[in-house]
Symmetry: none
Subunit: 202 residues, 4 copies
DNA sequence: TATGAATGAGCCTTCATTCAT
DNA sequence: GATGAATGAAGGCTCATTCAT
């Protein structure tokens, strides 16, 4: 039906616009700092419309956070790449994705709301951190199965890798409003991978 | 002068009481969630007095954060302890200190206010994270100098250690309102140290 | 014309549905408490349609009140009943009708809107209270004409009767959200009638 | 203490001013129609101050209603007055008090809020209607004890009296925004009393 | 000096009513 | 003609900060 279709498309556009504006304001000013009226204005929508789409500020906030949390593609690795190069590429991709998503700022506001919205924080942690995590562990498990890596606790191993990288690049960014991917990260990543392979390579 | 002294001491007591109450409320409710009136009431002081001591809410906030940042004692290790045990003890102490200070909650509110108070965030990061960091690097450097560890970039090494431990215990706590020291952390710490020594021990 | 007829009937059904839904919501939540959107939803109609039928919330309100004001049937009394029994039956019917119509709630909202809708209040009072009144006075006048009652001011007499009954049952209900007919009202009614007959019976 | 006294007096003045302004606005516009901001402006006070004195609009409303409900003085009757004159005076006083207090408008807003504030309605009914009631029943009981009236159920008797008077004067006022005492009420009151004495006088 | 009352600006949310299709 | 989305104008309430004593 033409009318219905039209309405749906308009509605979806507004929905997306609100989400986008919400994301911008929440990231810039935090949860309490962002005003519903400002978000509505930014989305070129009335406050009432905003509240038709999201029944409360908190719901919009949750939607903004969940919206950012879509699947991350792990690119296929060339067959002829060395194990080291492959792992470096995977971890580098991890970092790139993180910064492309502006995940630092996002995590920042979620962290800020931990006392007020513990469920959201837990969900975000699980789906935004643990699940990315799991993907790497799966890769490690495959490599172990293929005999490319020594048998070891893949979760522990991944935490070693990711921990080091976060320590170098993500943790500082959390405190520095950094939004750009750090330069030369690959060098450090390679160094981390090298150590890892010294421990768990065959 | 006795009277003046008395007054100064009363004033200092109030100052401290406000700081303490501020710390409690900021940690519990975050920056925006903490109300000046509540903090004053908790400190048993009028709001006007609070504003005499700290000219704005933000100033109080900064003071609270800076106040939390006092020196951490690294306990002396027994001479006859093994290298592994020593390092485990140091890292365990790192974690214990973190949880005793309720540093997670503190970092949380600082992180939350990064966009609003970037200087505070930078300072906090430097004095609260980097400097603790530096202490460990110093220890590693000493161990290298003593020939107990292989020569290597001590900062890189420390980041490997601390990164893994944060990944296991601090990062999750950031999202979980956890205030208690995790149990059995020592097992994981020991595993991390073992790997580290496999890489850099002599 | 069949099509036109059909449309008119559909329209009338919607009109009635809106009226019914309006009645329900106004009675339950009062004038300000009732939301146009809720009434429309209840009537299974769009808000725009609601406003096609009633050009404002107030107009709908007036229509709801007027609609409730339909004729009340006074049942015929058996010829062989005693005067006392007859009068008790009439007054009892008065009360039953009141509660069956849920008149308490209706009067409540009209009373509430006296400052805002004085005309409606006056009309309601006249057509909903005075006219019921008049009917009883007519009966009394007939009884006087028949010589069954002593000559007296029938309006004054009816006010004595009705006043006592309202005092016992309707006035309290006005403050108590009561919607059910009080039990054993007949005993009090009979007592009132007895006194009345002692005064004005022959 | 001078300061404290001063503050208390200022505070009490504001409290009273808010109460008075609230009374005015609630009576004029009903509960939902009265805006906190308007009440505050009328009381020459900021909204925040209003909310310091009454923690919610509803609480202010309740206070307004309770405030109106202070004791009613029943004037002493001259010893040499006849029973009829005495009772007429008492009932007349009842009506006068009712209109002086502007009780009609007050009851109107309480009635309007019955669904939303049933407790207030119950309390108001008890303390504002039943207790005035009880006073008259006490008088009747005394008269019975003195042998001036025949023994009878004093509550029933009072309901007869009050019911008739309300029917004549209060019930219509409820629907008519009347704020002035009806004229010549005494004639009807006397007639009601006469009938009452025919029934229960000795 | 310390106080507690006072404030004005602002925030979240709702709702009667209109509009584009 | 009927719809559901959209709106602008409040409204209740809070809070960092100041002021009169």
């Amino acid at each position: 039906m033409g009318l219905e279709e039209y309405r749906r498309s308009v509605s979806e556009n507004k929905h997306a616009a609100i989400l986008k504006a919400g994301r911008k304001h929440f990231l810039e000013h935090g949860y309490s700092g962002a005003a519903a009226a400002d978000i509505a204005r930014e989305a070129d929508v009335s406050t009432a419309t905003l509240y038709k789409h999201f029944s409360s500020k908190e719901e919009l906030f949750v939607a903004v956070v969940k919206d950012a949390d879509h699947e991350e593609e792990i690119p296929p690795f060339p067959d002829n790449a060395s194990l080291e190069d492959t792992m470096v590429a995977v971890l580098n991709n991890y970092l790139i994705t993180h910064f492309e998503k502006n995940a630092t700022a996002l995590l920042r506001i979620v962290i800020a709301e931990v006392p007020g919205a513990p469920d959201l924080a837990r969900d975000t942690f699980n789906e935004f951190i643990v699940s990315r995590y799991q993907k790497l562990a799966d890769i490690v498990d495959q490599l172990i199965a293929h005999g490319t890596l020594k048998p070891h606790d893949s979760h522990f191993g991944v935490r070693l890798l990711i921990g080091a990288i976060k320590e170098h690049y993500i943790w500082p960014a959390l405190f520095d409003n950094k939004t750009t991917m750090p330069e030369h990260a690959e060098d450090v990543i390679r160094q981390v991978v090298k150590d890892y392979l010294r421990l768990y390579g065959t």
